[in-house]
């Protein structure tokens, strides 16, 4: 029987380490908890995921969080989950399948990397298509991997709004009759400065930052599945 106060203490120290962008301290908390009898499943579902949810809550409440904290949340969550999953008693259920990449003409990859780390921690199977991805490839890869979500990152106005970004993916989904099965989620700097832009580029949803994006994608994947 796990002492609930130990769980709470682990959560608190882990969250503090995440907010201080201190990966070593966060990993130390996880390993100490393992040694004291916490299960790998509890580490993931009671510590790592709630810490991500706490970050999302802080963002939504305009509490100060920064890009570096989002990046560190994703990196730490990804590495802890990768370490814990092989130790699970049963392989976890896949919560959804996603392909993600940067729009054609866009070579930025940080935002995408944050989203990927957070999605993996949520048991979402992610295929990273890299940067400068043409719209046809987004759709082809989504079909090949059985993905219900296409994630498109764009850090520049012309790659967000251009015909080879989300608009191009939408056109192909429509042509192939895939719109019911595959949804588009967009993110990146231009969307932070224009909250209506995701509608202009005909995406189904957007997110303000990488940590929140993983939550939005998880919800949308669940909607498509049901």
């Amino acid at each position: 029987m796990i002492d609930e106060s130990m769980v709470e203490e682990t959560i608190r120290h882990y969250n503090e380490a995440i907010f201080d962008t201190d990966r070593d301290r966060a990993l130390e908390m996880v390993h100490q908890a393992l040694e004291r009898g916490m299960t790998p499943e509890d580490i993931v579902f009671k510590v790592v995921l709630p810490a991500m949810d706490q970050m999302i809550k802080s963002i939504s409440e305009a509490f100060d969080t920064s890009l570096a904290q989002h990046y560190m949340t994703a990196q730490i969550a990804d590495s802890v989950v990768a370490e814990m999953i092989p130790k699970f008693k049963q392989a976890p259920q896949v919560a959804g399948r996603v392909v993600i990449g940067s729009a054609e003409g866009d070579l930025h990859s940080l935002g995408k990397r944050i989203v990927i780390g957070c999605m993996r921690a949520r048991m979402i199977e992610v295929t990273d298509l890299g940067v400068n991805v043409p719209p046809e490839r987004f759709v082809d890869e989504a079909v090949a991997h059985g993905a219900s979500i296409i994630g498109i990152s764009a850090m520049m106005v012309h790659t967000a709004r251009g015909s080879n970004g989300s608009l191009g993916v939408r056109r192909i989904l429509k042509e192939r009759g895939l719109e019911d099965r595959i949804k588009i989620v967009v993110g990146g700097a231009p969307y932070r400065f224009d909250h209506e832009l995701y509608k202009t580029v005909q995406a189904d949803a957007w997110a303000e930052d990488g940590v929140t994006a993983a939550g939005v994608i998880a919800e949308l994947a669940e909607e498509v599945r049901t």
Binding site: T21, R23, A68, L107, N132, V157, H158, G162, P190
Partner: protein
């Protein structure tokens, strides 16, 4: 005739001119003015200078730029591949630093002014200085040492090195970037740039937590400015917010001009600066692509109403996307001239 420089100097000194200074940052639009592709336009400093002069004359705003595109700094440090688009700014397509061994091999040119990669910028600055030097502020864009690695190795790789180390490799890269920054600043000043935009996203609490800012970023910012002096330097965090750190940056560096994020609140920023410097209120130029005439005028009025009382205020834009219709640029500027008049 009152010039842009007159307006800027008056605003810095807390005096009134005919109106507040208005900085409009049009770069890629110059190619259209000259009827050429972006790749052709950016191949010659003479083209960029002509584009800048033509646009300033056409719209009547108060500044010109020597900046081609942000990746130009990476070219000075060895980048050989730039990805051009028809509808947006060129981007670094080949990182100079692919692994940590490349950091040890990174060469900082002794004299940037004499570097072949700087020759077209030098030519651009020569023309700008000859045509509008002293009349209209000539702006240069200089990436801070802590931000420069992002265009040399990619932002994600740089975040990894910055936050996770190895510390000796990180510090070696930062030292080289500082050396470049000091030499680059000197080259721009020698070539006639008046306004030096010190671009540092790591000086914003949108990008790094306050603890990191206080313990790591701020000491670097202090050393940067100590090395080059604060004359003509503008604090800018690449569209990220920085209201929370203005007071300490002002106190520690003496930088006198703050180019806010469109997401910062102008009135609190002015209160914090409290007459010790120039506040630059910046319009969110991404929705400007789609806004109606009345929406543009309302937004310009809102920003100027928040910043103009008490003086020491400049109205500005970020790097204006190419997709903004010319009519919207004119509407924004006419509103800024109207509402910003004394």
């Amino acid at each position: 005739m009152i010039t842009g420089m007159d307006r800027l100097v008056a605003a810095i000194n807390g005096e009134k001119s005919d109106r507040i200074p208005v900085f409009c940052n049009l770069l890629d639009q110059g190619a259209g003015e000259l009827g050429m592709s972006l790749k052709e336009y950016y191949s010659k400093g003479a083209h960029v200078a002509e584009g800048q002069l033509t646009m300033r004359e056409k719209y009547g705003y108060d500044n010109v730029w020597s900046l081609f595109y942000v990746g130009k700094e990476a070219e000075l440090l060895g980048c050989r591949e730039i990805l051009y688009a028809d509808d947006g700014p060129p981007n670094v397509a080949d990182f100079v630093i692919k692994d940590y061994d490349d950091i040890a091999n990174l060469q900082i040119p002794d004299d940037i002014s004499a570097s072949p990669a700087f020759s077209e910028e030098r030519e651009c600055l020569r023309i700008l200085r000859a045509e509008v030097g002293g009349s209209y502020p000539i702006c240069a864009y200089i990436t801070a040492p802590m931000a420069l690695p992002a265009i040399l190795m990619g932002m994600d790789k740089w975040m990894e090195l910055l936050f996770l180390g190895p510390a000796d490799v990180r510090d070696a890269l930062l030292d080289k970037c500082r050396e470049f920054f000091v030499k680059e600043t000197r080259a721009y000043r020698d070539a006639g740039a008046d306004v030096l935009l010190y671009a540092n996203p790591f000086g914003s609490t949108d990008i790094v937590p306050m603890k990191f800012f206080s313990e790591q970023a701020l000491p670097w910012i202090e050393k940067d400015i100590e090395a080059v002096g604060s004359q003509g330097v503008v604090y800018y965090c690449g569209s990220a917010r920085f209201n929370r750190v203005i007071d300490v940056v002002l106190e520690k560096t003496g930088i006198g001009v703050y180019y806010l994020s469109p997401l910062d609140d102008i009135a609190p920023a002015k209160e914090i600066i409290a007459g010790r410097g120039l506040t630059c209120g910046v319009i969110n130029d991404i929705p400007l692509i789609d806004w109606s005439r009345s929406e543009i005028r309302d937004e310009v009025r809102r920003l100027i109403d928040a910043g103009m009382p008490g003086g020491k205020f400049l109205f500005g834009t970020l790097l204006m996307p190419l997709a903004i219709p010319e009519e919207n640029i004119r509407t924004m500027l006419e509103a800024a001239y109207e509402f910003g008049s004394y």
